[in-house]
């Protein structure tokens, strides 16, 4: 009976906490609106080819560089392709790349951080020194070097971004883990004779998740930026794939003569990055306001 009551109380407390988090998040208008924007972007990414009015690869040089009009709401690019359709279809590349790279980067980073923070000792030193070296490298430079050696393409872009961003997760996770390891419930679990692996994944990881979630949200934004920068530098997804950054990069010579070609994909990049950052802010306030100093927006 007593056990049931305690469990129910725990359940109740959890629900209350979730509601609290949601309420705090909603109280931040910017984050709330951003959530809808991101929802919309993900919708585009999923259904881009269906809702695009034209085939994004269909070119017609006689219609090149047309300013926005009713038939082409965002105008056409240097080869006469519809920019709106290209942005719609390109969303899955840009957002997909950042999603995948954040997932991979976070996965590697969190595992290493968890291991490093919980085990301490020699392994911790080795991992942390490697992370030091990698953090000393400018992210974009590392990404450029990686793409240059891996060759251009969606996969190498994902790997490059993931590899150049995971050290931050290692640092972050380790910091949180160090705090948690000192808590009483970990000591209790140890006394119960639980294995290190069990404690790490059952107790430490779930309790350090909130800063990781916040960091990942921020990094959704910065991965889009890195992917776009690489695309702009000609190291992104090869043409004619309409990744947003590559769209700007390959058509940047028209910036002054036909600005719409560059402005619209740029606007979408800006909105996407901004929304992810604002959601990150909202999540940070909602999940754990004390953790503010931990985060890097990249």
């Amino acid at each position: 009976m007593e056990r049931m009551r305690i469990l129910r109380e725990i359940e109740e407390a959890k629900r209350k906490r979730r509601r609290e988090i949601w309420e705090t998040f909603k109280s931040s208008k910017a984050a709330y609106i951003s959530l809808y924007i991101v929802g919309f972007l993900i919708f585009i990414a999923l259904f881009g080819p269906v809702i695009a009015p034209y085939n994004p690869y269909d070119f017609d040089l006689s219609k090149a560089k047309m300013p926005p009009s009713l038939s082409h709401p965002f105008g056409t690019d240097g080869l006469g392709r519809d920019i709106l359709s290209r942005i719609f279809v390109g969303a899955r590349y840009t957002i997909g790349i950042s999603l995948a790279s954040v997932a991979i980067g976070a996965f590697i980073g969190v595992l290493l951080g968890l291991f490093s923070g919980y085990m301490r000792g020699l392994w911790d030193t080795i991992i942390q020194r490697i992370v030091d070296v990698m953090l000393a490298f400018p992210t974009i430079l590392l990404a450029i070097a990686l793409v240059a050696s891996l060759g251009r393409g969606v996969l190498s872009l994902i790997i490059a971004i993931a590899v150049s961003t995971f050290p931050v997760y290692v640092r972050l996770t380790r910091g949180v883990v160090l705090q948690i390891v000192g808590e009483d419930y970990i000591a209790a679990a140890k006394m119960l004779g639980r294995s290190s692996l069990y404690i790490m994944f059952r107790h430490v990881l779930p309790n350090s998740l909130s800063p990781i979630i916040v960091q990942s949200t921020y990094y959704m934004g910065s991965s889009i930026l890195i992917a776009s920068s690489l695309g702009f530098l000609g190291l992104g997804v090869p043409s004619p794939t309409p990744e947003w950054g590559s769209m700007i990069g390959s058509e940047r010579i028209y910036l002054f003569s036909s600005p719409h070609i560059v402005v619209f994909p740029g606007l979408f990049i800006m909105i996407a990055v901004l929304s992810f950052n604002l959601i990150g802010d909202g999540l940070r306030d909602a999940l754990d306001p004390k953790m503010r100093t931990y985060f890097r927006r990249g």
Binding site: A30, L61, P67, L79, P238, F256
Partner: protein, 560 residues
């Protein structure tokens, strides 16, 4: 919670909204301007042709005199002319020139034995007249008398011989040495007569001779085979100074043997960025600007303060097809030629700054033979590919430089799009110029690309320098620069004969035959001949565009 943090967030959100609004407003404003521009010029091509008459016929008018000023009554309203160029000289040595713009500047100071007139005919400069022996092995030049160098010494046969000897001195770093061909020796006949012996007949010899700039004997004795850094010539302008990376200053030579210039001083400002050159022109800091960004062509053309020049260059742009696998089949190569709409690319991607290639060499070259262009016909292309059994699942790699030729990356993307239309998949490989050069100079079996976007510019307007160096089997990469690895013994024979034939009509006939064979074999995708985009202020007149379309001469220019 209702504290500073809340306030700052509101401010942040407001700032974001303001930024977005500003971006939208800015783009809308820019777009409107763009819209107006498009409305005001309905056909960019048409207006282009009115500024530059298109050359027709075989050897055509290539020097456009913007305003002929032959009367001596002309006086220039301004004494200083400021010209914006893009490159800093690598060398001032008259026998080591590599860069057209640099020799353009120096040719105001140096002169050569012969020169080209507006029609592309050879005219005498330092040589008053010349004779060629019937076997094409001996050339006699009678020099102009009373011509003095800027250091006071006199031009005579000994000086010219010293210049020729230095040109062929292996100790002098001279990348253009082979242009003058198989010269055996130069012999001084009398003080004003020099005889040049060739080892074998070399037809382009006279047309290559303008490359030989003549400097004084003092300079040659002083520098020997070291790089000459003192600029002493016989030309209408004297060299004053060169501030590295900044400017070159020339001053009028008041003792010039020919017609004296109207403008006292020319300052060549070195501005590497095309957009900065444009900005300098728009701000009135310069009177003439070389090589402006093509995206701004319309804008400058619509500005009443400026005259726009779009001379045809000596640079043909093409795609060298690597003849292996399915691409070894001429039907496949012809199909690729039919698949690309060159007119559309010229109009939309190149802003009209090119003329469609209707021969292998530019129209103002000797040996230009107009052919029937491969008209855009995707159905025919597809049919030819199917006939040849082209493997449509194979992906072709198109290697192209970026920032080297006019809109090169954009052109490559357009070609990729056109080829995908007939089912040929193309992967683009973009490279900056140095790595590009390193990766193309390889034997055919080591190349990791199938198509190569390339330009070929020849300083000497003679078909020999395009056809021989691209299509003679001895010139195939990596030995030479023949990137199409063309190998046809009949063409080899024709090109060898043409190089030796001194009778111009017979020579033209040989080039005609060779061109016909090569054109039908389609080792290249023949694209277009690039045009330049220069502009001057309206009051600057009298300058001439040299036959190569790239160099401008200001020795008869004046401000009205």
């Amino acid at each position: 919670m209702v504290d500073l943090r809340g306030v700052s967030k509101t401010i942040m959100v407001l700032t974001v909204i303001v930024i977005i609004l500003a971006a939208v407003v800015a783009s809308v404003l820019l777009l409107q301007r763009q819209g107006e521009q498009i409305v005001s010029t309905t056909s960019p091509m048409k207006s282009l042709t009115t500024t530059t008459p298109q050359p027709t016929g075989t050897v055509t008018t290539t020097v456009l005199t913007v305003a002929t000023a032959t009367e001596t009554s002309i006086t220039s309203k301004k004494d200083v002319l400021k010209v914006a160029i893009g490159v800093d000289p690598d060398t001032l040595d008259p026998h080591g020139q590599t860069t057209t713009t640099v020799s353009n500047v120096l040719r105001h100071v140096y002169e050569s034995l012969l020169w080209f007139d507006e029609k592309g005919n050879l005219i005498p400069v330092l040589a008053e007249r010349w004779e060629v022996s019937p076997d094409g092995l001996e050339y006699i030049f009678y020099l102009r008398k009373n011509v003095r160098f800027h250091d006071g010494s006199e031009l005579n046969a000994t000086v010219v011989k010293a210049n020729i000897d230095r040109w062929f001195d292996p100790g002098v770093k001279n990348p253009s040495r082979s242009q003058l061909g198989p010269v055996k020796e130069a012999v001084v006949v009398d003080p004003y007569t020099i005889k040049i012996y060739l080892k074998e007949p070399y037809a382009p010899f006279l047309r290559a001779l303008p490359s030989l700039l003549i400097t004084s004997l003092n300079v040659i004795n002083k520098f020997g085979n070291k790089t000459i850094t003192e600029v002493v010539g016989t030309g209408p302008y004297k060299f004053v100074s060169w501030e590295k990376g900044k400017k070159i200053v020339l001053e009028r030579n008041d003792d010039y043997w020919g017609q004296k210039p109207y403008i006292k001083r020319i300052e060549w400002l070195i501005i590497p960025e095309a957009s900065t050159r444009l900005a300098a022109l728009l701000a009135g800091d310069v009177d003439f600007a070389y090589n402006l960004p093509p995206t701004d062509l319309e804008r400058v053309k619509n500005d009443p303060r400026f005259t726009v020049l779009t001379p045809t260059s000596n640079r043909v742009i093409f795609i060298a097809i690597q003849p292996r696998g399915p691409l070894a089949d001429p039907r496949v190569r012809q199909a690729l030629n039919y698949a690309i709409d060159k007119d559309a690319i010229i109009n939309s991607v190149l802003y009209g700054l090119a003329i469609k290639a209707d021969s292998i060499v530019p129209p103002h070259f000797f040996g230009y033979v107009p052919m029937k262009p491969y008209e855009y016909d995707p159905q025919k292309a597809r049919r030819l590919l199917e006939e040849a059994g082209f493997p449509f699942d194979k992906k072709l790699v198109l290697l192209h430089p970026t920032g080297r030729y006019l809109q090169d990356k954009q052109v490559a993307e357009a070609i990729q799009a056109y080829l995908s239309k007939i089912g040929v998949q193309v992967e683009l490989k973009t490279m900056d110029w140095p790595s590009f050069v390193a990766s193309i100079l390889k034997p055919l079996d080591q190349k990791d690309f199938d198509l190569l976007l390339l330009g070929w510019g020849s300083t000497v307007p003679d078909a020999h320098f395009v056809l021989y160096f691209n299509f003679h089997s001895s010139q195939a990469a990596p030995k030479g620069l023949g990137e199409a690895h063309y190998n046809n013994s009949e063409v080899d024979k024709l090109l060898e004969q043409a190089a030796k034939e001194t009778d111009e009509n017979k020579r033209l006939e040989l080039y005609k035959k060779a061109t016909e064979i090569i054109w039908n074999d389609a080792p290249w995708i023949f694209l277009y001949v690039q045009k330049w985009f220069y502009a001057s202020t309206k009051d600057l007149k009298g300058y001439t565009i040299y036959i190569d379309g790239e160099q401008i001469y200001f020795n008869k220019a004046y401000f009205s």
